[in-house]
Symmetry: C2
Subunit: 201 residues, 2 copies
């Protein structure tokens, strides 16, 4: 999370994502971003000549990359990968964060979609790209676990949808209940798609 020692540009993108997570795009002012990143305000227009829209887009892209990297990490850490195990790890990351840091922040991609999908076309596509980048390693992992190729993508979409929705509900309730519930209910279904293939080898 706190990879503070990068260039000031990366820090600003990261800070933008952090602030967007909390109160949406409108609540993440340019001055706030600079302050949060410990970067000079004047650098904003230097590094992001495209203005706020560019900054938001890069923050969304960063979030997509981050999510994809986490998926790879989860998989690498699992001795016996299973679809339910992967989903559980993805949800557990949010449960852990909510418990440790409170329910202040949600998913920045979701926030950008809600706030900008209609107003800023480039941000909308940035969000779509982020979801796609996130879902790709998930689908690939499912295939490796024996899920038929044509269903892997669909299940990845289902997993991310359920996770995003549960994050919303959890944040509104200030309770991780929705996340644990979704994990419990979705797990068996996911494994049911992999099982008929894997032991058949």
């Amino acid at each position: 999370m706190t990879v503070s020692e990068r260039g000031p540009r990366e820090r600003m993108v990261f800070s933008a994502a952090q602030l967007i997570r909390r109160g949406g795009v409108a609540a993440a002012g340019m001055r706030d971003v600079a302050a949060h990143a410990g970067a000079p305000r004047g650098s904003l227009q230097h590094y992001f000549p495209g203005g706020k829209e560019q900054l938001v887009n890069e923050a969304v892209a960063w979030a997509g990359r981050y999510a994809a990297d986490r998926v790879a990490r989860f998989l690498a850490a699992m001795p016996e990968p299973s679809p339910s195990g992967l989903f559980s790890a993805m949800a557990q990351q949010w449960i852990d964060e909510f418990r440790a840091a409170g329910f202040a922040g949600g998913c920045p991609v979701a926030a950008a979609t809600v706030d900008c999908a209609e107003a800023a076309e480039s941000t909308r596509t940035a969000a779509a790209d982020a979801f796609a980048r996130w879902s790709r390693p998930v689908a690939e992992a499912l295939r490796d676990m024996g899920v038929p190729r044509e269903r892997a993508g669909s299940l990845a979409t289902l997993m991310i949808s359920a996770l995003e929705g549960a994050i919303l509900i959890a944040r509104s309730e200030r309770d991780v209940r929705a996340l644990t519930t979704v994990t419990r209910e979705l797990g068996p279904l996911l494994d049911g798609c992999a099982a008929p293939q894997e032991p058949a080898r």
Copy 2:
């Protein structure tokens, strides 16, 4: 949807929900709400002395009631209710709207959660209440279909989570793919929970 002839107060709440749906809470200015509702600007402070926060909260509550009513309608219209049929109807409503009216608006409860969960406590609880009110008739319907009592609530949470997430993805992609995918993948699981009970009678 367009129940235009109500009192000006209701129209303003409705308009607020409509605008929040599109660009988030920040993009729904008070002046815009009055204009969209065809209501005088001066009425805002008269009907909503609690300011924008009150207006947003009522819009969120309205959305929760609306969603619950729709669930009741879907059930009443189904000759042979099934969990997958209910979920399909819920998702289909969104598919129809996206196809007919474009991807301009998402779920106002999700938007309010993203934008206000951290900043405005009352809006956060309003969103939680809206989700609860929405999920209650879903859970009750599942019970009536033979889903064990202790799982009905969990499945309702899963359904709403998956739907909310799919709405987000669909809006970012400007494609109903996520909604159709989630419907297709979740349907069998949901019916699998009801089947073992119902035919046993």
